[in-house]
């Protein structure tokens, strides 16, 4: 008996060790030093002198990009929406330098573990040029480290946590087209104070970098604008009984509660808050993590009248209209969440950068330098995308952030501010 347990344990340790090593040894070894010019269409053999490494795409082979988005589980609409944006962008862009583009879709699970798994799977494929993802900031923290360390580049269409593009914690291969929550948290605080005229607010997070970051920015902005934060609470993301939490918050006497969490916890808090006598007439507000039909159906009538902050989708441009039309035709639904346009822009940026830096051989072979690709992306300036004019700073923030506050009315989100 003891021997069996020992053997099983040893086998497990061995498997773990192997899977940990397996991901780090997949760099193509093509780093010859030689005279080299950014030659396209030259008949000389292609030479890779990129400091990181190069991806070689043989004639007729597709250019592979990966996505790491939350495409299963209670938050799947957030990730599927972005994935649809990626697929439409690939369709719209067409072949890159004569090569079709192929998408390898991974699941970030909206968790640190999920982000780590997806990232390790991606960096084990040396053909992948770049990554669109992740959906959730919690997954983005480990994924950005693994992907950057392997020399790859990633652009997130929906990570919004400030920590990802903070000077101290930014990873070299990480960019994003989603807004930084420094903007979103501030917008909600402004709305609460300037439009609703509240003085006392509470904030609730679930410990995930996205929710905690956003709740903290809201707290700081709210205080700066002259309000008072009476409660700053945490709850675990898979909690069921949120009544004690809300009674604690109610005892502090807020007029406004901001809980930028994901759908399961968000709808529980919404429903329970409407039941508690101490919270009648208190404004409820959440953020883009719940801005999808699944939340409305789970929270039902309790969600009526609550506020949700998120990216402003009033993009007045013709490409966005074409994007939504293609979305409806291809997937048979109105957009499921709010980051499809950001995913579209992220994908287009990536493909455009590939087109800029790739060296093309006489037979159609492409050689794409990973450092060159990164440099091209970070150098993006004044690019007219669907979501606005994108300019990337040195820490990877590319967005042209526009935040809207919506209200839930008759089972739909309706933008009311600004």
């Amino acid at each position: 008996m003891k021997r069996t347990i020992l053997l099983v344990t040893l086998a497990l340790i061995l498997i773990l060790a192997l899977s940990a090593c397996g991901s780090g040894t997949s760099e193509p070894a093509a780093t010859d030093q030689g005279s080299q010019s950014p030659a396209t269409d030259s008949s000389a053999p292609l030479v890779c002198n990129d400091p990181l490494s190069c991806v070689e795409v043989a004639p007729g082979d597709p250019i592979v990009i990966a996505s790491a988005l939350v495409i299963t589980g209670p938050n799947e609409q957030l990730g599927l929406d972005s994935q649809y944006g990626v697929e439409i962008a690939i369709d719209f862009y067409g072949p890159v330098l004569g090569h079709p583009v192929q998408l390898q879709a991974e699941d970030d699970g909206c968790s640190a573990e999920g982000g780590q798994t997806a990232a390790q799977k991606i960096v084990s494929n040396p053909q992948i040029v770049g990554v669109i993802g992740t959906s959730c900031s919690g997954a983005g923290v480990p994924a950005s480290r693994i992907i950057s360390d392997a020399g790859y580049v990633m652009i997130s269409p929906s990570n919004t946590a400030p920590v990802l593009t903070d000077e101290a914690t930014h990873q070299a291969g990480y960019l994003r087209t989603a807004h930084n929550d420094k903007v979103q948290g501030r917008a909600m605080a402004e709305y609460a104070i300037q439009v609703l005229g509240v003085k006392k607010a509470a904030a609730i997070h679930d410990g995930d970098p996205y929710t905690e970051g956003l709740a903290s920015v809201f707290r700081d902005s709210f205080i700066e604008l002259g309000g008072e934060i009476v409660a700053f609470e945490g709850e675990s993301a898979d909690a069921t009984n949120v009544e004690p939490l809300l009674r604690t918050v109610a005892a502090a006497g807020p007029e406004f509660i901001y809980y930028p969490v994901f759908i399961p916890l968000g709808s529980l808090i919404t429903k329970t808050a409407r039941e508690l006598p101490g919270l009648q007439g208190v404004y409820l507000a959440a953020a883009d993590g719940v801005q999808s039909p699944d939340f409305l159906s789970a929270a039902g009538s309790a969600a009526e009248g609550m506020f949700v902050s998120g990216p402003d989708l009033g993009f007045a441009n013709e490409t966005y209209d074409r994007l939504v039309e293609a979305y409806r035709n291809k997937y048979g639904t109105a957009p499921l969440s709010v980051f499809h346009a950001h995913a579209f822009d992220a994908t287009t940026l990536l493909l455009r950068a590939v087109e800029q830096v790739a060296q093309k051989g006489a037979d159609g072979t492409l050689l794409i330098g990973r450092q060159a690709l990164r440099d091209a992306l970070f150098a993006t300036s004044g690019y007219q995308g669907v979501t606005g004019t994108l300019t990337c700073n040195q820490f990877g923030d590319c967005a042209d952030p526009k935040i809207a506050v919506s209200i839930v009315e008759n089972g739909a989100f309706k933008a009311i501010w600004p």
Binding site: G73, S236, D238, N241, P244, L245, A251, K271, D294, S297
Partner: protein, 356 residues
């Protein structure tokens, strides 16, 4: 304690210190909260509400914990798929019974018959899933080493979780709200949400019912006999396989009923809903003394109440911010303490060598 120092038993000493530190921290936090008013000011009514909220969550834990304890009692195995039995019945009953009945208005016109239909569906689906799992995954391994059924249990858990995800999708499904259960009762000046009151009363009835089923009926006697010694029970003419199947079915029926009550209180269900309550209920069963029915009930209630009262009471008193996030820490610290100092659980018996 002096004896341990004299004997040079340092491990016991360290464990003693650990216990003393935890108890002192809890006491310090409680005193700071109650007598020096650290943090929010709660009224007596608030405390009563914390207690009731914990009691309703705890009675759900208790109902689920019964399944762990019953199966452990007869087979000495931890049935990690039990959380999925809880999920399967609830999800099926919500999609096929609760939502259609609510959409047609039947549920609000005749809430008692409607709830009965939901309960019966949930309990029978849970029982079906449990019987199938027992037949396919556990019975063939009855004579295998103890580790083997544990691993198949984990496998079964994954299988059912993803099976039901395939059936019903991975989105949250809303559980309908009953009009009769909206609002509050006022009992002794304390306002209790109706759903919480119904859950507490229904669970108590089921716990007592199960106790009598096991202690007073012939089938219950057979279950206890199999728990005592399978071979001797077989010699006495008891069909051991059938009794074990009945035990699984009983535990699963309780889990199915708990699932409907869960739906009433939290009003949303999803394929992954069985995991966390399953782990918590397992903790509750171990807390109370695994193998003992009153133990599982008490363990569940204790756990629910500690999770609800702990954060506002001593975590706030200790000045820890965001205390509610740490309720799992309270739950699992309790588990560790019990495992160190009273491995048989709060009211569990000391197990004989053969069972342990």
């Amino acid at each position: 304690m002096l004896k341990q120092i004299r004997d040079g038993d340092w491990i016991s000493l360290v464990l003693w210190l650990f216990r003393a530190v935890v108890i002192l921290l809890v006491l310090y936090g409680t005193v700071a909260k109650l007598f020096f008013g650290v943090g929010n000011a709660y009224s007596g009514r608030d405390w009563a509400n914390f207690f009731i909220s914990g009691l309703s969550q705890g009675s759900l834990y208790a109902l689920i914990a019964l399944g762990y304890t019953l199966v452990y009692g007869v087979l000495f195995m931890i049935n990690f798929a039990h959380g999925e039995f809880f999920m399967s019945g609830t999800l099926t009953a919500t999609v096929f019974v609760a939502l259609p009945l609510s959409a047609s208005g039947f549920l609000d016109r005749t809430p008692i018959i409607g709830m009965m239909l939901i309960l019966i569906t949930a309990m029978s689906v849970s029982m079906g899933v449990a019987l199938l799992t027992e037949r396919v995954a556990y019975r063939p391994l009855r004579r295998a080493p103890r580790l083997v059924p544990l691993i198949t249990a984990i496998g079964a858990s994954f299988f059912w979780q993803y099976y039901f995800r395939g059936l019903f999708g991975s989105s949250l499904i809303p559980f309908p709200e009953l009009q009769v259960l909206q609002g509050r009762y006022t009992i002794l000046g304390v306002e209790i949400l109706k759903t919480r009151a119904v859950v507490i009363v229904a669970s108590l009835i089921m716990l007592v019912g199960l106790y009598f089923f096991v202690m007073r009926t012939k089938t219950g006697k057979a279950i206890r006999a199999v728990a005592e010694d399978k071979d001797v029970a077989a010699l006495m003419g008891i069909d051991v396989d059938r009794t074990i199947a009945i035990t699984f079915a009983t535990g699963a029926a309780m889990a199915g009923a708990a699932g409907v009550l869960y739906g009433l209180v939290f009003r949303q269900v999803v394929f992954s809903m069985g995991f966390v309550p399953g782990i918590k209920a397992f903790t509750a069963a171990v807390l109370g003394g695994i193998g003992s029915i009153p133990g599982a009930a008490l363990g569940g209630l204790f756990l629910g109440i500690f999770e609800a009262i702990g954060p506002p009471l001593f975590l706030e008193g200790l000045g820890i911010p965001g205390g509610h996030q740490l309720k799992d820490v309270i739950a699992f610290t309790m588990l560790v303490l019990v495992l160190i100092f009273r491995p048989q659980g709060i009211i569990g018996e000391r197990l004989a060598e053969k069972k342990a």
